[in-house]
């Protein structure tokens, strides 16, 4: 602005031969030139271009500034905190006044410290900028770049540079500690585990009484029953076994209906993580299928490593596409053991194949549980849905849920404030 004013005054002064205007213009020119040459760093002033556009030595002032970043962890859970230490170094012999902003993903909140610093960095000095961010939402994230700005004292000229220092980290969905899921397999597997499968065999839970046969352990004899009946009776126990548990997570674009932090996908991923942790803790074999624009599956496996694999997939689930459930069912049906528990986490919206797909499962005697986070509630709570619309959609949803229940599906309309364990118990009719 000052430059334009000076040019205008200078030209007007020359045209009108008015020495007063020329004098004022000259003074403005002088101040600008002084600020450009010596007021700030020369290369800040000498060009308005960004330093990365330079290939030569012109970006020296900012070229001598470097950044390194260190994080407390590369993996954490939702609502976890990440400590970041940014190390800024000035390799030159000149002190510099720098504005430094470390770019943090928008969904993150700065818990303590600051990612935006104004500082004087002395010659050949370094400084550490420390801050803590709170990570409220799961996902793959990246810290960086580091934006650095220098300007002259009057703010007439400035220069910016982005230091391309990036650190990736992963936020896993947070998990609810489940005591009981009421989900049991009717299919035994080879290895014994902690799951009752409603068949007699080695286990801890009482199943039934039967007559004594040769070879039965004396410890299994029920002496009270013997006293009553006069026959040797033994306790049979329900067989514990590893079961296959399949968790289907709906990550279609419609799953993200609602506020960013409260929508069906957020709830589904948290539920899937909690269930996976619970079942893996029971030494079950857990597989997860996330479907959105494509079908991403984690093969059934057991152990802590499997939990990590599942959490990673869930962290990366993005609401995208509109793959119908029927496509998923057709794809996985040949590969899962008959009778395995299947848990579907979906808001059941915008998918006309849901009834047929779940009917296919039920027809093959799969134990199907559906937890359906209600997008209607999220939208209604966020006041994005009027009452009439809500009531109409709610009725449609109730009809669908009723129809699915009629197929023998254990289903629960999962309202936002309901705990996962409560929703599960509700789905199983408790």
């Amino acid at each position: 602005m000052l430059g334009s004013l000076a040019v205008a005054m200078y030209l007007l002064g020359l045209t009108l031969r008015n020495s007063q205007l020329v004098t004022i213009a000259v003074v403005i020119f002088v101040i600008l030139t002084w600020a450009a040459l010596f007021g700030g760093h020369a290369d800040v002033a000498s060009s308005g271009r960004r330093s990365e556009e330079f290939t030569g030595e012109e970006g020296m002032a900012l070229g001598n500034v470097s950044a390194m970043r260190k994080m407390s962890s590369a993996r954490l859970f939702e609502d976890g905190e990440l400590s970041v230490t940014l190390r800024m170094q000035n390799h030159s012999g000149l002190a510099k006044i720098l504005e430094v902003r470390d770019r943090v993903p928008e969904v993150m909140r700065i818990k303590s410290g600051s990612n935006y610093i104004l500082m004087e960095l002395g010659p050949r000095r370094e400084t550490f900028i420390e801050y803590t961010v709170e990570c409220p939402l799961r996902g793959f994230y990246s810290l960086g770049p580091v934006a650095v700005r220098m300007q002259d004292a009057f703010g007439l000229f400035h220069r910016e540079k982005e230091l391309h220092v990036y650190n990736d980290f992963l936020v896993f969905p947070k998990m609810e500690d489940l005591k009981e899921t009421f989900v049991k397999s009717r299919v035994p597997k080879i290895f014994t585990g902690a799951v009752n499968i409603r068949q007699p065999g080695p286990g801890s839970e009482f199943y039934s009484l039967r007559e004594y046969f040769e070879g039965d352990s004396f410890r299994a004899i029920n002496w009270s029953a013997y006293a009553r009946s006069g026959k040797l009776m033994v306790n049979e126990r329900e067989r514990d076994a590893v079961s296959d548990v399949i968790i289907l997570v709906d990550s279609r674009s419609v799953a993200e209906t609602g506020p960013v932090s409260r929508n069906a996908l957020v709830y589904s991923t948290r539920a899937a993580a909690s269930l996976a942790k619970y079942f893996l803790g029971r030494r079950d074999s857990v597989g997860v299928i996330v479907y959105g624009d494509e079908v991403v599956s984690v093969d059934r496996d057991t152990g802590k490593k499997q939990l990590y694999v599942i959490l990673t997939k869930l962290a990366g689930a993005v609401a995208k596409g509109n793959t119908p459930l029927q496509v998923v069912v057709n794809r996985i049906l040949p590969h899962i053991n008959k009778g395995s528990p299947i848990i579907v986490l979906s808001n059941l919206e915008d998918d006309p194949t849901i009834i047929n797909a779940l009917r296919d499962f039920r027809a093959r005697d799969f134990d199907v549980t559906v937890l359906s986070p209600s997008s209607l509630e999220f939208e209604f709570d966020a006041k994005r849905l009027d009452r009439t619309g809500y009531e109409v959609l709610k009725t449609e949803r109730d009809v669908l849920i009723g129809e699915l229940r009629g197929l023998g599906v254990n289903i629960m309309d999962w309202e936002p404030d309901m705990l996962l364990s409560t929703a599960l118990a509700g789905a199983r009719g408790f």
Binding site: L2, L5, R17, I28, L118, M119, E120, R384, E391
Partner: protein, 306 residues
């Protein structure tokens, strides 16, 4: 509207009452009279600069969320008040009614002088108010008024409205007065902007948006610049504007006659002499930039300790 009162939706579904989520939330949202449009608070406020604002470097935000001014901002405000008074006085002196745009429009020196005084008064008042309220809009209006006041549409040397010290007879002092006036004008614009900049910075510091390490050094540099830059500018501008004195002096080393002719030259003592001096100085400055001297200087300063 009926359902808002009773919560009964029977009329919608053939006498079937629909039960849904927790009644408290429903009631709250249902009573809010909401529609299906995007709620206003969901749309972030975006300041899009108009064409004029974009020329000025960005949007003029009407209401800055400034916290109460800190000591530095208060000092800057006091400095602006002082400069504003001096600037108003100097403007009144160096911009007589004759030659102004008002004189061109009305042809009356009386009206032109009155309008000129009013414009200067308005510039001063809006400047005071803008500085006090830390409102960029008023500061901009004040700047525009001051520039309007100084614009002259007449061929003239420096003329004064009133001359209590007899400066008109001393050309050097006269041009020095204009230089000082110009420096005051620029410092007013600069410190006015500084009030806004440091207010924003202070707000950001107090809201923990930005952390300032060693603020004393950063502020100290600005304070030094506020003192040094005007002084250096006055000296340099005086040198540039003294071309009609310096050139004959230089030529005088070679030829005293030519130097005398130059001194008496009408062109050199007129505005063209100033233009010639300016051209000469800025050719030199341009050459320094063309030779990339700032970068070489920078490199020297950056690496001299190695």
């Amino acid at each position: 509207m009926a359902e808002k009162k009773s919560g009964d939706t029977a009329h919608l579904y053939d006498s079937k009452t629909v039960r849904s989520s927790a009644p408290s939330r429903k009631k709250l949202a249902g009573n809010a009279g909401i529609g299906t449009e995007i709620p206003k608070d969901a749309v972030p406020e975006i300041q899009i600069p108009s064409f004029v604002e974009s020329l000025l470097g960005g949007p003029l935000v009407p209401k800055m969320k400034f916290l109460p001014p800190d000591k530095m901002v208060q000092n800057l405000q006091l400095a602006v008040y002082g400069i504003l008074i001096a600037l108003a006085f100097l403007t009144l002196i160096v911009s007589p009614g004759a030659g102004t745009v008002w004189y061109m429009l009305t042809g009356s020196i009386g009206v032109a002088t009155t309008v000129q005084v009013v414009v200067i008064a308005l510039a001063t008042i809006t400047g005071f108010y803008g500085t006090f309220r830390r409102d960029g809009r008023y500061l901009l209006i004040s700047n525009v008024f001051f520039i309007l006041a100084i614009l002259r549409f007449a061929s003239s040397k420096v003329a004064l409205s009133f001359d209590p010290f007899g400066l008109a007879d001393r050309p050097f002092l006269l041009s020095s007065l204009v230089v000082v006036y110009a420096v005051f004008l620029i410092m007013y614009i600069e410190i006015g902007n500084g009030v806004l900049r440091y207010s924003m910075l202070d707000t950001s510091i107090r809201t923990n948006e930005v952390y300032v390490m060693n603020p004393g050094k950063i502020v100290g540099k600005y304070h030094r610049a506020l003192v040094l830059n005007p002084i250096i500018s006055v000296v340099l501008a005086t040198l540039v504007l003294s071309a009609n004195t310096i050139l004959p002096a230089l030529v005088g080393v070679l030829s005293s006659n030519t130097a005398q002719r130059l001194e008496e030259s009408v062109e050199l003592t007129s505005v063209y002499g100033v233009a010639l001096g300016t051209l000469f100085v800025f050719i030199v400055t341009g050459a320094l930039f063309a030779l990339n001297l700032p970068t070489h200087l920078q490199r020297y300063r950056e690496t001299r300790d190695e």
